[in-house]
Amino acid sequence: MPASIEFRGVSVAGILHDLDLRIGAGEAVAFIGRSGAGKTTSLRLINGLATPTRGDVIIDGAAVTDFIPLRRRTGYIIQGSGLFPHRTVYENVATLPRLLKWDETKTREEATKLLDRLGLPAAQFAGRYPRSLSGGEQQRVGIARAIVARPGILLCDEPFGALDPIVRRELQDSFTAIREERNATIVFVTHDLAEAMRVAERVVVFDGGRIVADTPARELPRHDAPAVRALVAAASLPA
């Protein structure tokens, strides 16, 4: 079940200032902004990897007191994948189902289906170790690992930032296709405007630890906030 996320007057000393934001259950929102704008910290507040100095982060109407159960129903995809190097592709993907005590048949079924779906046929990839995969393949495994247990929230922190443009585009396409099938609230941090518009329907623009724009993705290019205009200008190709 997708979960709603709400920031109420949230500050993190020196990084975020009095943030108010509501993300409805099932929405796909991109956080965009320059480096240091506060977008990654905001994302990390959702699963408790960062702690607010003031204010509350509310998930499904309640402040979180124990992050471990929340994290188990929250997918997290990061740049460089963070795969466990001592575990095979299959074991990486099976991590959360095993924590959740799924039976092995169901785990295998789901993991295999998902790996196939992401272009990594299980027969060929399941037994391999992460170091034998390309960056793009590792990131696909990272996606599979994050969504296999059908999380209610999916947090993505510049997941495709380190990939070459072609692989990046392929992964964005896989991601959006899978997004349609999986019912989750998505928060996607990126500094790439085109990527934000491709993966999300709503874009929140951060600058200096504050939200300077919150707009439907398709209206972003016409937004008149200076920070947005600067991003749009930087993203456009030379004439």
Partner: protein, 199 residues
């Protein structure tokens, strides 16, 4: 021949007991030290300092200490434990601290408890480094254990000391060669384990 075998057996017992106890103390100590920058640093300096004491002097220091000291195998084992601690503790710290932050964070973000993170991510990834520490500790202990004979600890050192006293090279070799062979075998076996653990 029986004397050599008996001495070798004693030697192996002293070393194995000492290294096993050093692992039982050193690995948890290393895990603890890896998580606390200041206290961990202090703990490492203490085990470092023990390592700088010449082995014969360490055996000497232990003799007058009640309960753990005196003449015999027990004192030898205590000294070897102290000697073996440094490589075990230091390599545990290095191994745990060497876990890539993104990998550790992925574990936390998936909802691992601190205990699960330790046993499922940190320790398996630190294992090659820990085993390397145990290998160094074992090989060093095999060498240092020959000196244990000086305080009546038994082992292959007994033959060496007797050979030196009697100026009998054969007797010295009867102690030295098996000791060297033991060290080589330990090194080869543990290096193989280490290589298997590195993925």
């Amino acid at each position: 021949m029986t004397t050599i075998l008996r001495a070798t057996g004693e030697h192996v017992v002293i070393v194995v007991v000492a290294v096993v106890i050093a692992i039982a103390i050193g690995v948890p100590l290393g895990i603890w030290a890896a998580r606390r920058a200041r206290a961990g640093g202090a703990a490492l300096r203490v085990v470092d300092a023990i390592q700088t004491i010449p082995s014969l002097a360490l055996f000497g220091f232990l003799i007058p200490i009640p309960f753990i000291g005196g003449i015999g195998m027990r004192t030898a084992i205590v000294a070897l434990i102290l000697y073996s601690l440094l490589p075990v503790v230091r390599n545990t710290v290095t191994g745990i601290r060497g876990v890539e932050p993104a990998v550790r964070e992925a574990g936390v973000a998936m909802g691992f408890t601190p205990r699960q993170l330790l046993f499922e991510v940190e320790l398996p990834l630190a294992m090659p480094s820990i085993v390397a520490g145990i290998r160094i500790a074992t090989v060093t202990a095999i060498g240092v254990a020959t000196i244990a004979a000086a305080i009546g600890g038994g082992g292959l050192g007994t033959l060496i000391f007797r050979g030196v006293a009697m100026v009998d090279s054969k007797l010295i070799l009867a102690g030295a060669l098996p000791a060297a062979a033991l060290a080589l075998v330990a090194d080869v076996v543990m290096s193989a384990i280490e290589r298997r653990l590195i993925r």
